[in-house]
Each structure stands twice: as structure tokens, then as C-alpha cells.
């Protein structure tokens, strides 16, 4: 994406200023405002001001956060390193199970299990990244799909999920997940955890992208031959991308177990893998903001659909029973239409609007 034009009157005297993230005071103010909304308004004031829907909003925000975390690794792999993947749920699952097993069986504190989950998922992802050394494009899609089916539908379902001995469910008793002295037992605490993780991951990935590691990924994505000639060890950086992508998935999985009572393979289906790819496509491939926009779109549309259908229920009683199918088909259609009419994603549109407002009212 092209660089944003600076407002006139702003000059840079050092390269440090020129390479900084928030380049004007206005941007600073805006970011602080955003942080206020995220940290104070939504979790603390919303439930008080709007008791009816406040907590619901927080729980939807948590779902959005989970989607962002899930999609971030996919964004890194597809959007930045150019490695198509349709099996990311596998690594989210590895993260979730690692966290759960470490806490329940070894009594390791939750914050540490997040790190362990990231490492395990990262390494597991690297294992399935190995074929990328030899195969490209569509064949790579197939091996990532294999990662999904082999990991979730076979290893986890048949072996890992049996450890607890109670069928496939791996229940997490209340009070298991603690962050130091704080027990994470309600949506608002989950929300704060979510915000912390999302910001940490975004800053980490954003930073990586402006150093040589990130540029090497972009180079591999755009033109791997030229990248190799410039001295980029393509194999190593591809595997590094798989590691970081998988680790982000692991963090997502580790986070998600705070919101559910039992971990089971059904939480990490192939549909979720496809879903997160949809998130980055709709948000915008190769844009961190795009991941956020996409996650909001993909979470809010089904929620809105649910509200839209509710008033019709007395008239068509069978509608609610079939709602799942209706939702699925409307949702599928909306993805298709979105990609047909907005193929560059929401982030691109956002960038256009921003540039427009930036120059308004003198658009020259």
C-alpha cells in the first residue's frame, strides 16, 4: 500500500522521525483516544451505561479479539510471506491444548503456558512448513489442509483428547486460569487479557515488518528468485514465517480457553481455518489494520443477522431451527459478493477514506 502523505508543514529532520510510526501530534492524540475507548469506555462504562447490552458488547469484542489473534498468523503467512495456508486451526488447537494440558496436568501458571503454547504451536507449524521448501502455490494449500486434518481430526481427536478420559471434552474447572493473583472468571477480565494480547502481538508483528526479517518475507512473497539473489535464505525465512505464524495461532488458542468451559476438537474445525482466511481477504491482504477490520466484519455480520431474524420468529417458527443453515448461506453469499465488489478489502477502502479526509477540503 502506498505511503500516506504527510500534511503540509510537517518536515522531518532526522531519519528517525521519518521512520517513526505516529508521525504527527494529531495521530498521537487519536491513538490515545482510541486507547481510552478500548481500555475504559467499552469494558467499564458500557456495562454501566447500557446494562442491557453492555456485557453482550464485551463478549462480542472478545470474539473479535479471538478472531484477530487467530487471523494474525494467517495474515503473516499469506499476506506478508506469501505462503498460502488453509489449515491454521491446527496450530490454534495445538496452542489451546498445550495451555490446557500444562495447567491441568503440570500445574504451570497460565501466563507461562501462553508462552509454551506459542512455542509448541510454532514448532508444530514449522514441521508442516517443511513441504513449502519443495512445493508452491496450490500444492502448498493441500499440505496445509493435510496439517489441519492430521492434527485436529486425527492426532488431537484420537489421542490427545482422550487423555482426560472423559470422551473428547477436556474440561477446564473454574478457577484454573489465573493471572498472578487475579482469577480470570468473567468477560471483562477476559477482555483486558484480550486487549493486552492483541496489542502485544500487533506491535510485535508491526515491528518485525519494518526490519530486515519482515522485508525478507515480503521479498519472498513478491519474488522469491530476486530475494534469493539478494542474499535472503529463502528456506530459513519461510520456516521462520511458519514459526511466527504458528506461534501467533498458539497464542490465540491459549487465549480462547479462557472463554470456554471445555476444550474439544470441535472448537478448531477446518471451517475456522477457512474463516480466518476470509477475515484477511475481507479486511485486506497484507495489512495489519485489515486483520482488525476483517475480524470485525466477519464477527459482526452473523451477529447482526441473528438480530435481523429474531423479530420474524413468531411468524415463521421454523426459521430459528433453520437459522444455522440460513446464516451459513447468507454468510457465504456475503463473502462472495464482498470479494466480487471489494476485492482489495476493507483496509484499502479505509485508506482511501482517510486520504480523502486528510486532504479535504483541498484535494490537491
Amino acid at each position: 500500500m502506498a505511503t500516506m502523505r504527510l500534511p503540509s508543514g510537517t518536515y522531518h529532520q532526522t531519519y528517525q522521525q521519518d521512520q517513526a510510526w505516529w508521525q504527527t501530534r494529531f495521530v498521537w492524540l487519536r491513538m490515545i483516544g482510541l486507547l481510552f475507548i478500548l481500555l475504559v469506555f467499552i469494558p467499564l462504562w458500557m456495562p454501566v451505561l447500557f446494562p442491557d447490552i453492555g456485557l453482550y458488547v464485551v463478549s462480542v469484542a472478545n470474539l473479535i479479539g479471538y478472531t484477530i489473534l487467530s487471523a494474525m498468523g494467517v495474515q503473516l503467512l499469506i499476506g506478508y510471506a506469501g505462503q498460502l495456508t488453509l489449515g491454521h486451526s491446527a496450530f490454534i488447537a495445538v496452542g489451546g491444548y498445550t495451555s490446557a494440558i500444562c495447567m491441568l496436568m503440570f500445574g504451570i501458571p497460565y501466563p507461562i503456558t501462553i508462552i509454551l503454547a506459542a512455542l509448541t504451536a510454532g514448532l508444530w507449524s514449522m514441521l508442516f512448513g517443511l513441504p513449502s521448501v519443495r512445493v508452491k502455490g496450490y500444492y502448498l494449500i493441500m499440505t496445509t489442509m493435510a496439517a489441519q486434518f492430521i492434527t485436529v481430526d486425527f492426532i488431537i481427536t484420537q489421542y490427545v483428547a482422550q487423555i482426560g478420559g472423559r470422551g473428547q471434552a477436556f474440561s477446564i474447572p473454574p478457577g484454573t486460569i489465573t493471572f498472578g493473583p487475579i482469577e480470570i472468571d468473567n468477560d471483562i477480565k477476559v477482555y483486558y487479557l484480550m486487549i493486552a494480547l492483541v496489542i502485544a502481538c500487533m506491535v510485535f508483528v508491526g515491528n518485525l515488518l519494518r526490519t530486515r526479517v519482515g522485508r525478507a518475507w515480503l521479498a519472498i512473497r513478491d519474488n522469491d528468485i530476486a530475494a534469493e539473489v539478494l542474499g535472503v535464505n529463502v528456506v530459513r525465512y519461510k520456516l521462520a514465517a511458519y514459526f511466527v505464524g504458528g506461534a501467533l495461532g498458539g497464542i490465540a488458542g491459549s487465549f480462547w480457553i479462557t472463554s470456554i468451559y471445555a476444550v474439544s476438537p470441535e472448537h478448531f474445525t477446518w471451517s475456522w481455518s477457512l474463516w480466518v482466511v476470509g477475515v484477511i481477504l475481507i479486511g485486506g491482504v497484507g495489512s495489519l489494520y485489515g486483520t482488525v477490520f476483517g475480524a470485525m466484519f466477519m464477527t459482526l455480520v452473523p451477529e447482526i443477522l441473528r438480530f435481523a431474524v429474531a423479530p420474524l420468529q413468531p411468524v415463521f417458527p421454523q426459521l430459528m431451527t433453520n437459522f444455522q443453515f440460513l446464516k451459513e448461506s447468507v454468510f457465504g453469499l456475503s463473502i462472495v459478493l464482498f470479494l466480487l465488489y471489494e476485492p482489495k478489502g476493507l483496509a484499502y477502502r479505509w485508506w482511501q477514506i482517510k486520504n480523502y479526509l486528510h486532504l479535504w477540503p483541498f484535494s490537491y
Partner: protein
């Protein structure tokens, strides 16, 4: 030994149906480069459509013909409405559109038919099995096998002999050169989708006769992917051989590995049958990155 033979033969026959669906898939990929993840749903549609016709007391052969016709119409519509505007978009976008389509189709199907298993009643094929020595084969399998073979033959002749068959292959080889000779790429894409819908429709109908119609037929689309990859994405004979290989291997895995207990230790508690094609495919790709007969792209700079 008898069990082994039994498994091989059944696998071969089911595999021929996979081959049929894989062929439709390959065709779309070959001519327009679209990786179609909605193939399972196309198969489902075919199965439900022919079931509906059959339930309207239309004779089975005629019901199949009608299914083919509906397949052509749906194929043309799908290509025209959803895929054609995407020519020139990044491959991932196109793949995701097919994913969206698969959600859309699946949702619609279950909205109309619900998720219960439907069975062709009265059964189309006699349930009395045929005995070959000690091997027992249901007549459904034999007829399905024959039907699949006939259709495969028709497709192969179409590609080798007819004007449009050649044109489709030419477009797959070099779209620009084909265009320069007046071959309409749009028509080729539309034809590919129509044929894919037809192949999937017949495949779905046959599978529906074997096990009844439910969502499991939709998973066929996922089974077909390893089949075409093993054959090499853009090879017609590859799709056929790949389909049969997957059918046989899957049956063997189901028969011998699912579950497998060695010395009281459960090596495979179950579920091998479903993922086996993917394991084979991954190993295969590591050895031969372009499948058995896939085209190897030479990178030129």
C-alpha cells in the same frame, strides 16, 4: 486373502466414482486455474437433485439425465455470476469465493432438505449381492463402476476428438495463443464448470445410492483433492488414476488399520480411514512435488 481382494475391488469401484468427481475438478483447474473448494457441495447438489426427481416417480435413468441438465444450467450460472468477474483477481480471492460458494450451497441445501439421511426408495439397484468366488460385491457398486467408466470414456473421447475438447486443452496450455486463434476463453470456462457440475452430479447420485444421501457426500470434495494432487493437478489421466488409488488405499486403511492394536497397545485408535488420503498425499508431494503427471513449471528469469 479374500478380505484383501474384497477391499481392493470395493476400493476400486468406489475409487472410480472419486475419479469421476476428480475429473470435473481437474477440468476447472486445467482450463481456468481455479482451485474449486466447493466440489463437495456440487456433489451434494447432484445427489439431492437426482433424489428429488426419483421421488417424483421419474425413472432413474431419466432422473440422471435431468440431473445432468440441471448440472449444466447451474454450472453455467455459477460461472457467469460468480467466477467470470474474478478473471485476473489473485488466486486466493478466487479460492475464497469458492469457499463462500460452498457455505452458500450447503446452507441452501440443508434449508430445503434438512440434515437427515435420505435413501432412494424403492432402491434403484437390486440389493442382492453378486458373488465372484469368495468375494461379495453389491450390485450398486458394479453399476456405479460401469456408469463411472462410461462417463470417463465419454470425457476422454470428448477431449481427444472433438473441436471443443481440443480447444479446452489448448486454453489450458496457453490461453493467449488460444485467444489469438479465436478460441473463446469465456466459453471454455463456462464449459468447464458445466462439465464439473455434471460429473459431480453423477458422482453424487451414485454415492447416494451406495450409502444414502447426507452431509458425508459433501466430504467427498475433500477426498477428491488428494486424488487430483496425487495425479498431478492438471492431468486428466492423473485424476482418474488418483481417484482410484485413493479409493483403494482408503478401503485398505479402513480394513487393516482402523483400529490397529499391537501387543495390547492401541497404535491407531481409529479415524485413520479419513485422514489416510491426506497422509499419502503429503508424503507423495515430498517425493514428487508435482504429483504423478503434473506439469512442472520451469522458472525463467
Amino acid at each position: 486373502m479374500d478380505i484383501f481382494l474384497q477391499l481392493i475391488i470395493t476400493g476400486f469401484m468406489v475409487g472410480s466414482i472419486y475419479a469421476l468427481v476428480a475429473l470435473g475438478w481437474t477440468l476447472i483447474y486445467k482450463s481456468s486455474g481455479v482451485l474449486n473448494l466447493a466440489m463437495g457441495e456440487l456433489t451434494l447438489i447432484g445427489a439431492y437433485v437426482s433424489y428429488t426427481f426419483y421421488m417424483w416417480k421419474i425413472p432413474f435413468p431419466l432422473a440422471v439425465v435431468f440431473t445432468l441438465i440441471i448440472g449444466v444450467i447451474l454450472g453455467l450460472l455459477t460461472e457467469r455470476i460468480f467466477l467470470r468477474p474474478l478473471i485476473g483477481e489473485p488466486t486466493l480471492t478466487v479460492i475464497m469465493v469458492t469457499v463462500g460458494l460452498s457455505f452458500f450451497f450447503r446452507g441452501l441445501i440443508f434449508l430445503f432438505f434438512n440434515t437427515d439421511t435420505l435413501v432412494f426408495t424403492p432402491p434403484v439397484f437390486p440389493s442382492e449381492p453378486v458373488r465372484l468366488g469368495n468375494v461379495v460385491i453389491g450390485q450398486v457398486y458394479i453399476w456405479s463402476f460401469i456408469a463411472a467408466l462410461v462417463l470417463l470414456a465419454v470425457f476422454v473421447i470428448f477431449f481427444q476428438r472433438t473441436r471443443w475438447g481440443l480447444a479446452i486443452q489448448a486454453t489450458a496450455d496457453d490461453e493467449m495463443a488460444a485467444l489469438s486463434l479465436g478460441v473463446s476463453a469465456k466459453f471454455v470456462y463456462a464449459a468447464a464448470w458445466a462439465i464439473a457440475f455434471m460429473a459431480a452430479g453423477v458422482g453424487g447420485t451414485l454415492l447416494g445410492n451406495i450409502n444414502g444421501i447426507n452431509i458425508s457426500i459433501g466430504y467427498l470434495g475433500l477426498l477428491v483433492l488428494p486424488a487430483v494432487v496425487i495425479g498431478g493437478l492438471n492431468s486428466v489421466p492423473g485424476a482418474i488414476v488418483g481417484g482410484i488409488i485413493i479409493g483403494v488405499l482408503q478401503n485398505l486403511a479402513g480394513g487393516y488399520l482402523d483400529p490397529l492394536t499391537i501387543a495390547g497397545f492401541k497404535v491407531f485408535p481409529g479415524g485413520v480411514k479419513d485422514i489416510f488420503p491426506y497422509v499419502v498425499m503429503t508424503i507423495m508431494l515430498l517425493v514428487k512435488p508435482y504429483g504423478l503427471w503434473g506439469w512442472i513449471r520451469i522458472e525463467r528469469v
